[in-house]
Symmetry: C2
Subunit: 122 residues, 2 copies
DNA sequence: TCAACGAATTGATGGTCGTCGATGGAATCC
DNA sequence: GGATTCCATCGACGACCATCAATTCGTTGA
């Protein structure tokens, strides 16, 4: 967050006192395990079916019955349910059961970063 | 992009004329295969090592020698090279060889969406 | 009570992914 | 030329993933 600007057009690579056989002294400071949380969300979204699901839910003003996804995608009902469970486990969607049917919507308690991520993606 | 706002706090699920046994007539309009491009980038980022790599490259004002990553992470050299190749294949990083060493930096021709994605993530 | 329906779970299978050791290739230095 | 160093690739292995058929669970309605 310290440097939002990118190294624009660095054509000439400035060598940093690199000596053969002394590779590599400068240890990179790796940000801790907040990365894992992001990776969990990324893995949940890194699938065409699930990304489309999230896109539909984001654009829908009301909860969507999961049976509509089963009808829309050319996948079996267990597969659709499995994908939605992944989104549920990642905390991206909430479910409300109404009788026989299960209605899904985007989670209301999304972190700002996750919200921003969805705004960029879908 | 039409509705950035979310269905805030929809507690009461409004049923949409759903009749038992007639599931499910309304076919969801699924956006086409621009999803695949996003999924490719998401897959490239959905790994702790690669996400940290991208974070380091984004914060660095100059290209980073890949040997520094080999030293920083507790992974073998082929694994580090393999991860960087994934980022390369996804078009996220560029490489410049200087003698023995290989210097990596964020790609300069990133799409605005991808750039925004990285701004949110790392 | 029992049949019908939607959704979730289970078990199995083929494919992909992350990881490593070994090898190959290119550049540098003696 | 030959040895050394760094990087990429290859082959292999275990783990995870996406998918489906079959089954189970909860609810509805006759």
């Amino acid at each position: 967050m310290m440097k939002a600007t990118l190294p624009e057009r660095v054509e000439r690579v400035e060598r940093v006192e690199r000596v053969k056989g002394v590779c590599c002294p400068p240890s990179i400071t790796v940000p801790p395990a907040r990365v894992d949380a992001s990776v969990e969300v990324l893995k949940a979204l890194a699938d065409p079916t699930r990304l489309q699901m999230v896109g539909v839910l984001k654009r829908s003003s009301r909860p969507v019955c999961i049976c509509d996804f089963t009808a829309a995608f050319e996948l079996s009902q267990p597969t659709i349910s499995h994908h939605m469970a992944k989104l549920r486990d990642a905390g991206l969607v909430d479910v409300t059961k109404v009788g026989i049917w299960a209605y899904y919507r985007l989670a209301g308690h999304l972190e700002p970063k996750t919200r921003a991520l969805l705004d960029v993606l879908v």
